[in-house]
């Protein structure tokens, strides 16, 4: 056993550090209290993140980037649309239902999701919609060609789904998620705080209500990040090309078809990069769908995702989409 005598350390001893002179030992006072003060604010910030996200007003002033748009899917009671678009971020950023409605003379809307929210929420937004509205004439699964098996793709943005889960699900469902994804759940408060920055203040100061804007646009939102257009000399990353499975969307389509719904799968346009032809001739895992339209690269945002339309090109993408579903609607 070591000696229980405490070796003196020169606490509060500037003279020892500066001159090397010996100083009498002094038992430290207040150091444990210091730890209380050190951890109290981080603990408050950390623990308050979830209650704050659950506040009904959070989507008006919260820092979440896509949160206000995603929240629209849970406020669709009584919309009673003819066409319901369910898909990844390429859907709500790429098509404007108001333009589709004007062209086809129907009522359509988008239930916004992202590649990060889908693995967490799956088709929860669609189930919510169907439970609170009359039966739609058509459900469209709108995805980029590499997101058709979103259950197995390792997204680094699961917090987008977690945010919706925390806002709209019961404590029991939240606890179940936490049990299955403890690290993800533990990191959620840190990720939500990381959205804070000077950019958050701008919409607040301008008085923007992004949730209301998304509702007015029937689920469509413009990407507010202001990315430049994609360069013409682009190449779609080989990792995206390699993601050619479609199991998740095929299963979802089969699920709703079995319940008597008319379901179509639509692939979002891809940029005319050097290797865009890779999407033209593939089998899509047995899913009978038309290959994606190819639009000039500058119609897309250079945000590293090769899927988000530049706001000025949303009308063209919406027209292509309307043309594609017109036959299904007997137009």
């Amino acid at each position: 056993m070591p000696s229980q005598q405490t070796i003196p350390r020169p606490h509060e001893a500037p003279e020892a550090f500066l001159t090397g002179a010996p100083v009498p030992a002094r038992q430290p006072q207040g150091f444990l209290r210091f730890f209380f003060w050190l951890f109290v604010l981080p603990a408050i910030f950390y623990l308050s993140a979830i209650p704050v996200v659950r506040l009904p007003s959070y989507e008006r002033w919260g820092p979440s980037h896509y949160g206000p748009a995603l929240d629209f899917a849970y406020t669709t009671q009584g919309q009673n649309a003819d066409v319901v678009v369910f898909g990844d971020s390429s859907a709500f950023l790429g098509i404007d239902p108001r333009l589709v409605n004007r062209q086809l003379g129907v009522k359509s809307l988008v239930l916004p999701n992202t590649a990060g929210s889908l693995p967490v929420l799956r088709d929860q937004a669609l189930e919510f919609y169907l439970a609170h509205n009359t039966r739609p004439r058509l459900i469209v699964m709108y995805f980029t060609a590499w997101d058709l098996d979103f259950d197995t793709s390792a997204s680094t943005h699961l917090f987008e789904g977690e945010e919706m889960l925390l806002r709209h699900d019961s404590p029991r469902q939240i606890a179940e998620f936490a049990l299955h994804h403890p690290l993800e759940f533990a990191a959620f408060p840190l990720r939500s705080y990381s959205s804070l920055g000077p950019g958050v203040l701008k919409p607040l100061l301008r008085g923007d209500n992004r949730a209301r804007q998304a509702a007015a646009a029937l689920g469509h939102a413009d990407d507010s990040e202001n990315y430049p257009p994609l360069d013409q000399r682009c190449t779609i990353p080989s990792q995206l090309i390699a993601r050619d499975r479609a199991a998740t969307v095929r299963a979802l389509a089969a699920k709703y078809q079995s319940r008597g719904y008319e379901v179509a799968v639509y692939l979002a346009p891809v940029p005319d990069c050097t290797n865009a032809s890779a999407f033209a001739n593939r089998g899509y895992d047995g899913l009978a769908i038309a290959p994606p339209a190819t639009l000039q690269a500058s119609a897309f945002l250079d945000d590293g995702l090769y899927a988000h339309m530049e706001p000025a090109s949303v009308s063209e993408a919406s027209r292509l989409f309307a043309d594609a579903i017109a036959k299904k609607l007997g137009k």
Binding site: R9, G30, V40, L41, L190
Partner: protein, 526 residues
């Protein structure tokens, strides 16, 4: 494992502390073994296979130490044993550090691409190699008894210094491992050490990483930099390197202190240096000490002996002659800094970096020798109340001149090659401005945010106290530097109060949020 990562902060560190506390209830040896094993785990987290390299290095060097100390009976001359051990150590270091870059250099010229790109340098190989070579050299020279294997292993692997220093000397660390004391965790050391760690985390995560984007972009396109962009990139890199290394050193010393171990200081506001000799006494201080003890001094002694044997004088008067200066000061300086440059990397630009500093140091020594220390006392000593305004101006001028010289050398230190370094220097002189506008007009002028960050960075560097000054009331390290005794322009001191606790708590939380994509430390590559 990175200090600025969740696995380290939320998993490794708490386990290491709890294990330490449990081991402390049994025996000192249990503490030593626990810390050594935890350190091996810390190292293995990055690439478990390199544990073999670290383990082999420790076992080999301990075996050689046992032969040198005659703990393993033998009759071989100790000089031969030492030479053999150093040759093997340096051979392993060269194998990993220089062989593959050299092969890649030839492959790139022959085939256009790097053939051995996937070969990694074992993390911290320079640091654990140098630490052990010093141990063997000192053991061969006598003066201390060889230590037990567990103590030796902990000395070589103790995780706060394992990856990027400070380079420890056995004489200052071994006694702390062997002290007969109560090894249980102490609230005061935990509070001081963790506060120091948080200050380092702040520098690394919230400052250094903020400067890295601009600096990386500037050094990636050295041929098309406008005058303003080149200066912003160069100053940004100077601040990135400063806060990165300073932050790492703070974290390393703070972590050691949490276990009641005092490390030597490694960083002492080097950009406040008023000459290049002063700069090297503040920058990577344990490396400077190491190369002084194990390269500069032996070379200088050999040259002195040679001169004495040939009837030449080696006095201070002899040093003040051109030939004497070249032989007794410039030659050891050039050899030492050349090797320091080579240590920093396999590339001509690192050799130029080292030789530039050799030129600076030689000029600095010559200035002192031939001009005498007329101005030195006024600039280097004196308190705030006794110094005259002219001495402040002289100090500020010397500080800026030293910083400019360091900045010039840092261009070679950071550039991908010599050609890129010269192109970058051309950018600093405004030679690529037309090309810069043609390539990207938006990048012609650095943004207001960049300029504000640079101003804030240099305010912290030049006006604020460093962390050992902030913690000076609590003896944060083994010793203090002369420079740290002088107060900074703005002064404040840490105390275990509610205000400091709340402030550091906010800093910790902000850093933890920013740590979601941790970046490695610049000195890890060495």
């Amino acid at each position: 494992m990175l200090f600025n990562s969740y696995p380290f902060l939320f998993c490794f560190l708490p386990i290491a502390l709890i294990g330490y506390q449990i081991a402390a209830h049994f025996h000192r040896r249990a503490v030593v073994i626990w810390l050594a094993l935890a350190s091996l785990g810390f190292y293995a987290y990055w690439k478990p296979e390199f544990l073999i390299v670290l383990g082999a290095s420790i076992v080999f060097n301990y075996a050689m130490a046992s032969l040198i100390s005659r703990r393993i009976p033998n009759k071989a001359p100790t000089e031969w044993l030492l030479t053999f051990a150093i040759a093997v150590d340096l051979g392993a270091l060269c194998f990993y550090k220089y062989l593959f870059p050299t092969l890649n250099f030839f492959a790139r010229h022959a085939t256009g691409h790097n053939r051995w790109e996937g070969v990694f340098l074992p993390l911290g190989i320079s640091f654990f190699t140098f630490t052990q070579i010093a141990y063997l050299v000192d053991l061969q020279e006598g003066g201390f008894e060889q230590h037990g294997f567990a103590d030796y292993m902990l000395f070589a692997t103790f995780f706060p210094h394992l990856i990027a220093g400070p380079i420890l000397h056995h004489a200052e660390i071994m006694p702390q491992f062997q002290e007969q004391r109560d090894y249980r965790l102490r609230a005061d050391d935990l509070a001081i050490g963790f506060s120091w760690f948080i200050m380092g985390l702040f520098k690394k995560v919230l400052l250094a990483d903020r400067f890295s984007g601009g600096a990386d972009a500037a050094f990636a396109a050295p041929h098309s930099l406008s005058f303003a962009a080149a200066w912003a990139g160069s100053l940004g890199y100077a601040l990135q390197l400063y806060f990165d290394f300073s932050g790492y050193s703070d974290m390393a010393l703070g972590l050691a202190r949490m276990f009641s171990i005092d490390f030597p200081l490694n960083f002492s506001s080097p950009y406040k240096a008023t000459n290049v000799i002063d700069f090297w006494q503040r920058w990577h201080m344990t490396l400077t000490r190491y190369i002084n003890m194990y390269i500069y001094n032996p070379v200088a002694v050999r040259i002195t002996r040679w001169r004495v044997a040939h009837g030449l004088k080696s006095s201070r008067k002899a040093m003040a002659t051109p030939i004497g200066f070249l032989a007794l000061i410039a030659t050891p300086t050039f050899i030492t800094l050349f090797l320091a440059g080579v240590w920093h990397g396999a590339g001509l630009q690192f050799i130029i970096f080292g030789l530039l500093h050799a030129v600076y140091l030689s000029i600095n020594h010559a200035w002192r020798l031939f001009r005498g220390p007329k101005n030195a006392p006024a600039m280097a000593s004196g308190t705030l109340s006794t110094r005259s305004p002219s001495s402040y101006i002289a100090s500020a001028g010397s500080c800026l001149l030293t910083f400019a010289a360091v900045l010039l050398a840092q261009v070679f230190f950071r550039a991908a090659g010599v050609r890129d370094a010269f192109a970058f220097l051309g950018g600093l002189l405004g030679r690529h401005s037309a090309a810069a506008v043609a390539v990207d007009p938006a990048a012609y002028h650095p943004g207001r945010g960049t300029l504000a960050m640079l101003v804030a960075g240099f305010l912290i560097v030049w006006c604020f106290p460093n962390t050992q000054q902030i913690l000076a009331k609590f003896k944060p390290a083994l010793e203090v530097t002369g420079a740290d005794r002088k107060p900074a322009l703005i002064n404040f001191q840490w105390r275990p109060t509610a205000a400091w606790g709340l402030a550091l708590g906010i800093v910790l939380f902000a850093a933890v949020i920013k740590m979601q994509d941790p970046s490695s430390f610049l000195y890890f590559q060495f």
